[in-house]
């Protein structure tokens, strides 16, 4: 119980630090919201009136906490270039980015765990070596290039999907999922390769330990030892990795959305950076950072559940 409180405390501190960091970063940009609204030719009097109205003259920490509170209650300001509330813009795009992320994550897990277990079992066979080499190669391909290869192979040679033919979830949900399979695959492949490699190394080193020999000497079958003993221990570092990967996937999807022209958070972020639409940029970055921190917290708690050795006393 004490460790959970400690974790929650660190979590709150991290949230404060990260949001403070995002807030400071956008405070540093030359020109404030008042100049952005009135243009550079505005009179100093008009500027100071608007600054007073927008609350820009309040002390730094007051502004930070008021931003933080309104952010948590869903008020993220108004988009400068579209004139609509940031909240409504982000809400309509959330299902897209979320589906893409979850789909990729499921693919990573579904691909890497069976392949890791099987290749470690048949470690010396040529097929296993070939999978290793393929894995090493996939890890070196940058995600956006992998996206292009997937577009070319599945879209233009095999005609399994129409590149650029994204269908939104509120138009046709089946087609929406069907389109997202390919970008998710492009995101998942290198992560799956890393996770497979990690699981394999982890299983191989666990198998050398004494408890495995003991289990065999008690007459357990190979399958039994693998699933009831080795895998339980070997999976722990993989879970850390998967947690980090989920955070990476969130960031990776930003780039892949651009390759497959999916109108999610990534494209919105890039357009908003080019348009200098800081309210949107700040909101997206804060949301993604929050997601990452929450994922880390969940992984941390999951450890304690999975590995009794970490529970302290």
């Amino acid at each position: 119980m004490k460790t959970v409180f400690k974790k929650l405390f660190t979590f709150v501190i991290t949230v404060l630090l990260v949001t403070l960091f995002v807030f400071i970063a956008f405070e540093l940009i030359p020109g404030d919201a008042a100049t952005a609204r009135l243009g550079i030719n505005a009179t100093p009097e008009a500027l100071s009136v608007l600054r007073e109205e927008l609350g820009l003259t309040r002390p730094f920490f007051v502004r930070y906490f008021s931003w933080l509170f309104s952010f948590f209650f869903g008020d993220m300001g108004t988009s400068y270039s579209y004139g609509v509330s940031v909240r409504s813009m982000l809400a309509s795009k959330l299902p897209i980015t979320l589906t893409l992320t979850l789909m990729s994550f499921v693919m990573v897990v579904v691909l890497s765990i069976p392949i890791g277990v099987i290749t470690s079992k048949y470690e010396d066979r040529p097929a296993s070596k070939i999978i290793d080499v393929i894995g090493q190669l996939t890890m070196s391909i940058p995600p956006f290039f992998l996206g292009i290869i997937v577009t070319y192979v599945f879209g233009m040679i095999l005609h399994l999907f129409v590149p650029g033919g994204f269908v939104s979830y509120n138009v046709n949900f089946g087609k929406f999922l069907g389109y997202l399979v390919f970008p998710s695959f492009a995101i998942a492949l290198p992560k799956a390769a890393m996770s497979t490699k990690l699981l394999k190394t982890s299983i191989l080193s666990e198998r050398k330990l004494d408890y495995v020999r003991t289990a065999y000497s008690r007459g357990n079958s190979t399958t039994d030892v693998m699933y009831k003993h080795v895998l339980k221990n070997a999976i722990i570092p993989v879970i850390t990795f998967l947690g980090m990967t989920l955070a990476d996937i969130v960031a990776g999807s930003l780039v892949i959305e651009q390759v497959f022209s999916i109108p999610g958070y990534g494209r919105l972020l890039i357009t908003s950076i080019s348009n200098r639409d800081y309210a949107v940029v700040q909101a997206i970055i804060a949301i993604i950072a929050m997601l990452v921190i929450i994922i880390n917290l969940i992984v941390d708690i999951l450890y304690q559940v999975l590995d009794p050795r970490l529970r302290g006393n």
């Binding site: 956008f26 292009i148 780039v255 651009q258």
Partner: protein, 271 residues
């Protein structure tokens, strides 16, 4: 002599293969930038998407520019940005890591908490924050990525300093009356080189990927300058009609990354 080299190769093949790939790619790029008969920006409508030939070894792009000359220049830009980025990261990371690791205390606590918070950000996202603050362009990309790399190096150097500061050679240096600064930078620092070097190579790899990613998104290097990521994003538009343009450009990035990642693994094994 050959036998000895063969033995070393078998013991750490990643190191040698990685060094070979990296060396060859770097040589090709330097040769391409210095000796190519073509101006990488010279357009020629008659050779639009020309196939590879003796005149243009990798063919031409959508404006009839020699692809090999452009790839060399783009690759050189990418590598230049990566080198500067890692230099910024290593320099500031080493200074911060050395001071915090050696002295410890409250400043160390605060800086490391801040470090953790920054490391919780995926690096591309952090780079995007800085890009939106500074704006885009070659030098701004270098500064943005450089700042992103500082925390991870600071953490590595810090843990090395914490490990070394109580070892016998440091104690004896202290007994002989050496000043803290001397102990840090003359005695401890050389001992951290193997660890820092292997992480620098891995960092280099990430820098290449991050730069290519940002330029691909159109918020990195700005025209007329070019980099591999920017070229790949141009090439994507012609994926259907001229797939070789995208494939050659993407493969160059992948080979550079593969070389550095093998080299990094090899150095880590040696460290």
């Amino acid at each position: 002599m050959m036998k000895k080299l063969g033995f070393r190769f078998r013991k750490n093949p990643e190191l040698y293969i990685g060094a070979a790939i990296t060396g060859i790619m770097a040589l090709i790029m330097v040769a391409g930038v210095l000796f190519s008969p073509y101006d990488p920006d010279a357009m020629d409508a008659s050779s639009r998407f020309a196939d590879p030939s003796f005149a243009h070894i990798l063919g031409c792009d959508n404006f009839g520019r020699d692809l090999f000359a452009r790839l060399s220049l783009g690759g050189a830009t990418t590598l230049f940005i990566a080198v500067c980025t890692v230099l910024i990261g290593v320099t500031f990371g080493t200074i911060i890591g050395a001071l915090t690791g050696y002295y410890g205390g409250a400043v160390d606590e605060i800086l490391m908490r801040f470090n953790d918070a920054v490391l919780a950000f995926p690096s591309i996202l952090l780079a995007l924050v800085f890009i939106s603050v500074f704006g885009s362009g070659t030098w701004k990309v270098i500064i943005s990525l450089g700042i992103v790399f500082v925390p991870s190096f600071a953490r590595i150097v810090r843990s090395e300093f914490m490990r070394c500061k109580n070892l016998d050679y440091v104690r004896s240096a202290r007994l002989m009356g050496a000043k803290d600064i001397r102990i840090m930078f003359v005695h401890i620092l050389p001992n951290t080189v193997p660890v820092v070097l292997s992480s620098a190579v891995i960092g280099f790899n990430n820098a290449v990927l991050a730069e290519a990613g940002m330029s691909f998104l159109g918020i990195g290097v700005q025209p007329p300058a070019s980099s591999l990521g920017r070229m790949l994003s141009d090439a994507q538009a012609f994926l259907f009609s001229e797939p070789s343009y995208a494939i050659i450009t993407g493969a160059s990035i992948a080979i550079i990354v593969l070389g550095f990642s093998l080299l990094g693994d090899g150095l880590k094994k040696n460290a």
